[in-house]
Every structure is written in C-alpha cells, then in structure tokens.
Amino acid sequence: MRKLGDIASQSGQLSQVPVQSLMPLPAPYDRIADLPPRKVLNQKVLDRIDTSLDGFSALGLARPQTPEEEHEFVKRFLSGLEKLLSKENNWTFLEQLTLSLDHCARCQTCVEACPIYTASGHDEVYRPTFRSEVFRRLMNEYAKPGGKALAWLKGEHVELNAATLGRLLESAYRCTLCRRCAQACPMGVDNALLTREIRKLFSMEMGIAPKEIHDKGSMLQLRTGSSTGMNARAVRDNVAFLDEEIRDQTGLTIETPWDKEGADVLLIHNAGEILAWLENPMAFAIILEAAGISWTMSSDLAGYDSVNYGLWYDDAQFARVAVKQAEAARKLKVKKIVLGECGHGHKASMVTADRILTGDLNIPRESALVLLRDIVMSGRLKLDPSRNDFPVTLHDPCNMVRMMGIVEPQREILRAICPQFREMTPHGVNNYCCGGGSGFAIMSGYNFEDWRFSVAGRMKLKQILDAFADCPSPEVKKYVCAPCSNCKGQFRDLFQYYGVWEKSGILYGGLAELIVNAMTDLSQPFIKWEFH
C-alpha cells in the first residue's frame, strides 16, 4: 500500500504481511521454519470471498457479482453512514463518534501504541489511523452536506466502491478494540470506537457480522440462554458435574445454589468457563462457600452467561442481552450481580449497560476481582503462599484494566499468595491485549487464525516470554494468570500454535484457581500442571 486511496483499488492485495517483516520473537520462537505453515485457501474460496486487504479473511464477505449488486451494497452502506450521524438512530454513541471524527490532529502519536501495527513490523495496512482516516473521509464526503465538493477541494476524495467497503470491513476486524491508542491520544480520539462504529454499521444496517459473534453468538444466546448453546437444563447438568468434581478432587461437599431468592450475590460466569475451564467456576464455588458468602446462580435466559458479544459490533443485540441479564437478577431480588472472570462481560454489564439499565433494572454490578480481594484480605480463608511457589505473571484484560481501572485488587491477591509473582512490561493500564480481544479468540474461519496468532497475539507472546526470561526451561512450570475467558481462549490457542507448553512450560489459568491452590483445607494441589 502506498497511499490511503489504495483502499479503493479494484485489484490486488494491499499487503502480503510477509513473515520475515514481523517483529522478531525471542528464541526459540525466532525460527520461521519451525512455525506452522500458513493455511492456503483453495481457489474456489478465493474466487468468492474478499481477501484484498491483507490476504486474510475474518468474515468471508462474498464479492458482489454484478454492477447492480455493487450499487445496492454501496447504497446500503451510505444509508448506514447517515444513520450513524443522526441522534434518533445513534443516540448511544453519536457524541463519542463525533468527537473522534472531528478532533484527530493527524499527529500519529497513537500509532506506536498499537500492538498490531508495531508487531506487524509497521505494516501500513494496520496503522490505526489508516482505518480511522478512511472512515472519517467517507463520512465527510458522503454523509455531510457539501461534502463532495469539500473533499475534492481538500484533496481528501476517497472512491466508494465494493473494494473500498470489503477492505474497510475486514480492516474493522484487524483491531482488537484494546484502546491503547485512545489512551495515547493527546486529543482523546478513540480509534477503537470508530472501529466499532464501522462494525456496527455493517451489522445493524447491512446484516454483515462474523457468524461466531452473531449467528452463533448473540443470536444463539438469546435463543438458548448462552452463546455456548447451553440451555437451562444443560447448564444445571454441567454445574452438577462440577459439584461432583469438587467432591472427587477435594472431598468438600458443595451444592451450587440455583435461583435462590434474596441471595446477596448473583454470580454470572462466562458460560464458556463451565464447559472449557471448569476449574474456574469450581474454584469460585469453593471460595464463596468457604467465605460464607450468600450467593446464587440463575437458570434464567442469559442469567448464567455474562457474555454480551453485542459490545463488539451491534447496539441492539447488546441491549437485548444486557436487559435479559438484569431481569434475571431483578427476579431473584439479589443485592448485586458479581461478574466472573470475563473481561468484556465486565465492561458490557458494569459500564456500557449503564445507559440502558434504569429504574429497578439498575442493580449494583461488581467485579469478582474486587470480591475475591475482599475475601482474601479479610483472612476468612486459610492460605499458605508456599503452595504457590512457582513463577507467576499477570495478564491485564483490557476491558477490566485499561477500560475500567480495576488494576490493584488482582495484584493485592497475587502479592499475598504468589511468592514468585512478577509483572510484565508494560502492565496495568499500559498492558498489551492478548490478541484475542473483541471476539477474535472465538473466530477461526478461513485463514483468520494464522493472522490471530502471527500478528494479533505476537506482542503478548513476546511479553509473556520476557516475563519468564529468568527461567525459560520447560522443566520450570510457570503460570500466566489471566482473569478473563476470552484471553484464556486466546492463550490456549496461541500457546498451542507456537508449542509454548512444550518449549517453555508455560500454563495459563484464572485467578480464583490460584487462591484455591493456596488453601490449606485442601490436601492435594488444586492446579493440575496439564496443558488444556
């Protein structure tokens, strides 16, 4: 890519993203020959879908086949563009959108803050201001009065055709919405917000969204109760199995309370934990029971799944899910909702939903990290830090930490119970995203995974390896504490791709598991050093 207008080019791919140009990784991950080869899409697929941004495809967008189809495609986009600027259609984000459209000083301070741009070896196609500037110019030229003349006058004309839109859409799925750039911007411009507005336009006006987060995500959640497809009977069956596992592993008898009216706490996990990382909900049950907390889970629709994928791409889907979750809490008359270890669920429920949940739906919502800190610091659990005497580092989920400022509670816990705790560099609100943010951790169609592991997760992998540089041997077992399901999903897949467990002995897991691992009531270690 040579200039911004190339986004409209009718042929060719803007970047090849050559492996040799990517930011180098520490040994032994620096040998390109050892990496899995990139997936080659067959010609029949390539003929149908748009890969003209960078050779990858997150959505499998079909190219328009006729001039009429292209015309219709552009027309719908223009209609969406106008709606984004109207208060009636975009009351949720109009103000933030306008501020980010109007106040960019083109200073490029933000670009070095972006882990995707920098880890890609500064590939221009991933420059965070590239996508934003294209969007800004399209908005100015095509959705504002007198925009066309002004665009030509200022030399900011951008051709609007199917190629422009195909690339803009894919480009909106090359940003994890981590908002590190927004934090760096002296003007407060938020490229991630602009990225999400692009996604929103395509979803809400044109019905185009990744199937993993829409059809098999928020739609499935609204139909069955969970994006995993677990209905109420399935979740209760699975949690009964967790109770049984607790008994088998620890000898403790715990019966997870369901639909208990008047409980202090309604605990909502990311339901993926129950299926894929069951140690985490098991650890929560053990801790809450041992601390004598009055708690319950809900078997109402969406009341047992904190995910709200609409946060990443669609305001209407977002609102539908947020209301269902709050209704489950209202029905049980709980004092508060506690969000389990799920980053986007935190932001969705505790921050963004604040604009929707009014009156008796505005039930207090709290982070599990805070509750866990209070429990650990209260001394109610008998904890022996020497049981956690292995190297531990902490991953800061963007939504909890940079977005919400929940920085210290998890660290207070780790400093108290993990003698070999060490920080990553940088950390806290300056952390790097895991590379799976904004839905990427569950997106795996076409060749998207190659991009997710080689570009999006690259900076995080380097950071994790650097944090354990003093003990690189796979014989020394190490733990990345990642209190977020999405981040864990990314770490599992990323570590598998690079062979991190075999080469470096690094395991990942949640925060609650480390607390239970330190509990002296247990005769056996709770953490099993098996990669899964």
């Binding site: 959505l59 019905g207 185009i208 199995f241 934990e273 299926l275």
Partner: protein
Amino acid sequence: MDSSQGILQVFTWNNHEVEVDEDGFIQQPDLWDEQLALALARTDGVIELTDAHWKIIHYIRSYFQEFEIAPMIRKLCKETGFSLREIYNLFPSGPAKGACKVAGLPKPTGCV
C-alpha cells in the same frame, strides 16, 4: 448477498450429499447415520471405527439428543472411561473437532 453465514461446502459420500462448514461439521444433525460417521472419520484419517470409537460417538450423541449440546470433555472422559490422551489417539483432531464432528454435532460455539 449473505456473507455472515460463511461458505458451506458439500461433502459427498456413497452418492449422498450433506452440507458441511469449513471445518467439516455437518449442518443438519438429523441427517447423521453410522455410514456418514465413518465417512466423516475418514476425512480425519481414521480408517475404521472400533468399539472404542463407537462408545464415544454414542455417548456424545445421546447426550446431544438429551441436552442439545455436546457433553463437556471432562464428563465425556469420566462417563466413557477414556482419558483425554486415549480420545486423541482414537480421534486425532480431539474430542471437539474430531469426535463431535464424527458424531454429527454442530461446531462448538461461544467462549470455549
């Protein structure tokens, strides 16, 4: 132009055709039978299905018929008596991408 569905492919076996997604999961679980299971297994390099394979497949299917979702992996191991390693030996793509696919379930969804 419906792009959000992804591109379905047609999987052909014994002169029958079924739609599969890009990972080879069939789209209509009702079309499943034991012949199709064998054909799906062969796409993963499993040439014959032994009693051990069938025990896993039948458990997954009966759980799916009752709960409309795949059993959790730990439960699958506990109920069938196979360790995760043994399941990988039988289905090289693993319990979700291998065994569940052969059993005719849809691809797992959500944050899993």
